[in-house]
């Protein structure tokens, strides 16, 4: 488990990361969501030791994260980069060895990853000779080649075509299934929703929501329903425990306080006409994200 507690970092006057606390549990994929400049990259760099926090702690398995533990992190920076004029395989072996992997195992791991990512035939090519898609694959291999115990990926899906996204999703799931905590940032909320067990939402350097995606859906908001009843749904305004979001002819968008209110609503609806639809509306992550970030939009 990776845990950040009250991590704060300013650049001059600007507070980039402000009292950030969250955990990344083992074996799970955690999405790191937030607008550009919300502080995601800075937070990752603090975990990696590339940037120093002004305040706060980062612990790994209960102990402060030190250089030895950091060497076992796999990192994919947002600004991709490998040596352009070095052959792919040699480069992967070099990076694995820099992370402390013995030469023999580094070579075996590089070969396995290259085969897995469909790059085995390009192993001897220099990176600059690869297509953009293959360069991305090489970058992913570079983050995984030392068999990291923790994965930090900054926008790993940006620039990937849909097939490559699916391939990476599958690979990350496999890695997480071995007990490795995976934290990745992304703008693609649908993807985060599909992939992640948990999310951390960052806005202006602060954590505005964190936890399991299901929890967040239920947390702090009433169940939302869509009701279609012919000929008209105007009567719903008077039902106790039911709050109207919108009514348009036979279609009503409602929120209910509890299960009793929901049953009462159904009962009355059957008396008022023909019910053609009554279903709960599960908020998308995008909606959760908007509702979480908008109120906290301007802390200054």
């Amino acid at each position: 488990m990776l845990t950040l507690t009250d991590v704060t970092k300013s650049f001059g006057e600007r507070r980039a990361v402000d009292g950030v606390s969250f955990s990344v549990p083992p074996g799970s994929l955690t999405g790191f969501v937030g607008a550009n400049g919300a502080g995601k990259t800075t937070t990752m760099r603090i975990v990696l030791g590339i940037a120093r926090p002004d305040r706060g702690t980062v612990t790994w398995r209960g102990a402060p994260l030190d250089d030895d533990a950091r060497r076992r992190i796999g990192y994919m920076p947002e600004e991709r980069g490998l040596y352009p004029d070095m052959p792919v395989r040699a480069q992967l072996v070099h990076l694995a060895r820099l992370h402390g992997v013995p030469a023999e195992r580094a070579r075996a791991s590089a070969d396995a990853l290259l085969a897995r990512l469909g790059l085995a035939e390009r192993a001897g090519d220099v990176v600059s000779a690869l297509s953009l898609g293959n360069q991305q694959r090489a970058q992913i291999a570079a983050a995984l080649v030392h068999e990291p115990e923790l994965l930090l990926l900054d926008e790993p899906f940006s620039g990937l075509d849909p097939v490559a996204v699916d391939g990476l999703v599958e690979l990350l799931r496999e890695v997480a299934a071995t007990g490795v905590p995976v934290l990745f940032s992304s703008h693609q909320l649908e993807l985060v929703e599909r992939l992640c067990d948990a999310v951390v939402v960052l806005s202006h350097g602060r954590v505005v929501a964190a936890g399991g995606v299901e929890e967040l859906r239920r947390q702090g908001r009433r169940l939302r329903l869509r009701l279609v009843v012919e000929p008209d749904a105007g009567w719903v305004r008077d039902v106790p425990g039911v709050h109207v979001v919108d009514v348009d002819g036979p279609v009503a968008l409602l929120e209910v306080d509890d299960a009793d209110a929901q049953q009462r609503l159904l009962h009355l609806a059957l008396q008022h006409g023909t019910v053609t639809e009554l279903r709960p509306l599960v908020p998308t992550l995008a909606e959760l994200y908007r509702s979480a970030t908008e109120p906290a939009g301007s802390p200054a």
Partner: protein, 392 residues
């Protein structure tokens, strides 16, 4: 993994990268060929037909011998001279050598050298059987004749042994200086280039997440420094081999005696600027910026070099031989000239080491705080002030 093994990995990558570069390998080979040619060519070009020598014969036997030498290899003109006058004649270059036949063999005397071809021609002729009786007739005893029939002992004597040609010594000092200048400039720039390449390709983000920043710095400096030293040693070996092949034995031993000093000053002089070159590389964010960010370093290499060549007045030159920027250029030259004692070199080396200890730290601090700035170029002041923000 220890810091040292990480430094070795980084250094190994730099060395491998350079050795894979065709431009580097061809450049080094060209350099070697140039050095070999400049040592060997003068000797090879001077071979143009039989050399003519005036040879003083110090006895009738010697005169017979000189006259008997066939003129296909050398063209000898025998001169009968007063033995007491020989040294004066040699000094005035009236004769090129003097020959005597003694019970111990031939004695060939030159002023500051005895040409090899002249000596070989005399020795070869002395062995010819046909001479035996002529020598006996000329008054040589049976023992002497017997000895002349066996392989001849030739004793060389010189009136004045100058060691190495005095004209060569200052040239040698300048050659050391040029070598230092070229190699330090070439590899210093290569360090800056290697640093900015990692910034430009952004691979530096991945690297600093794996190893502490100073590991990258020291790995680069040591890797490229080892290559630079290797290149210098290779050039020195080629120069020594060339000099000994062309028979410049005095020059060889002078070079050999001083090359250890030269290598020491080279290594320290390289270390003095290496980390600053790395910092200059880190100030840039693109290769195109290098010319401007490395300008101060270029001056720190060029100005001392020209000072070492043009400043010849004392005591300024002696002072320069102690100052860290110029001592790697001037002290080896003074040592070759026999102008400086060993203790002076030790003092200059210690001063240089102390200065390098300071510049290495300064370079590390500047490198650390500018390495991850990827927008535009960083100024020295920004880098110095920004070190608190720098990664580990």
């Amino acid at each position: 993994m220890s810091t040292w093994s990480a430094v070795r990995l980084v250094a190994g990558r730099e060395v491998g990268e350079k050795l894979r570069s065709r431009a580097f390998v061809l450049g080094t080979l060209l350099f070697l060929v140039l050095v070999a040619a400049s040592v060997a060519l003068p000797a090879l070009l001077s071979d143009d037909g039989p050399e003519e020598y005036d040879v003083a014969a110090l006895s009738p036997a010697a005169l017979t011998l000189v006259e008997a030498v066939p003129d296909d290899e050398v063209d000898l003109t025998p001169r009968e001279v007063d033995p007491a006058q020989v040294e004066v004649l040699l000094e005035d270059e009236d004769v090129d050598a003097a020959v005597d036949v003694t019970p111990g063999g031939l004695v060939v005397t030159g002023y500051d050298e005895v040409p090899d071809d002249l000596r070989d021609a005399l020795a070869g002729t002395a062995q010819l059987g046909g001479l035996t009786s002529a020598l006996a007739d000329a008054g040589a005893g049976p023992d002497e004749v017997q000895r002349l029939l066996s392989p001849v002992d030739v004793t060389e004597r010189l009136v004045d042994d100058p060691g190495v040609d005095p004209a060569v010594v200052p040239v040698l000092g300048i050659a050391f200086g040029l070598l230092f200048f070229f190699v330090v400039y070439q590899f210093g720039f290569a360090i800056a280039q290697a640093v900015v390449k990692e910034k430009e390709s952004r691979v530096v983000e991945v690297l600093v997440s794996a190893v502490p920043v100073r590991t990258l710095l020291y790995g680069k400096v040591l890797g490229l420094g080892a290559l630079a030293l290797g290149q210098v040693v290779l050039l020195a070996v080629v120069a020594l081999a060339g000099a000994s092949l062309t028979g410049e034995s005095e020059l060889v031993s002078l070079l050999a005696r001083n090359s250890a000093w030269f290598l020491l000053f080279f290594a320290l002089g390289f270390a003095l600027l290496a980390c600053l070159w790395a910092a200059a590389g880190a100030f840039a964010s693109r290769t195109e910026d290098l010319q401007s960010t490395t300008m101060p370093l270029q001056l720190l290499v060029i100005v001392p070099f020209f000072a070492s060549v043009y400043v010849t007045s004392e005591p300024v030159r002696t002072v320069l031989s102690y100052l860290p920027l110029t001592s790697p250029l001037v002290m080896p030259a003074r040592l070759v000239e026999g102008d400086a004692q060993a203790w002076e070199a030790v003092v200059a080396a210690v001063l240089l080491l102390a200065a390098a200890a300071v510049t290495v730290r300064v370079g590390e601090r500047l490198y650390r705080s500018s390495l991850l700035r990827t927008r535009g170029t960083t100024s020295v002041a920004q880098a110095w002030a920004g070190s608190a923000e720098a990664p580990r």
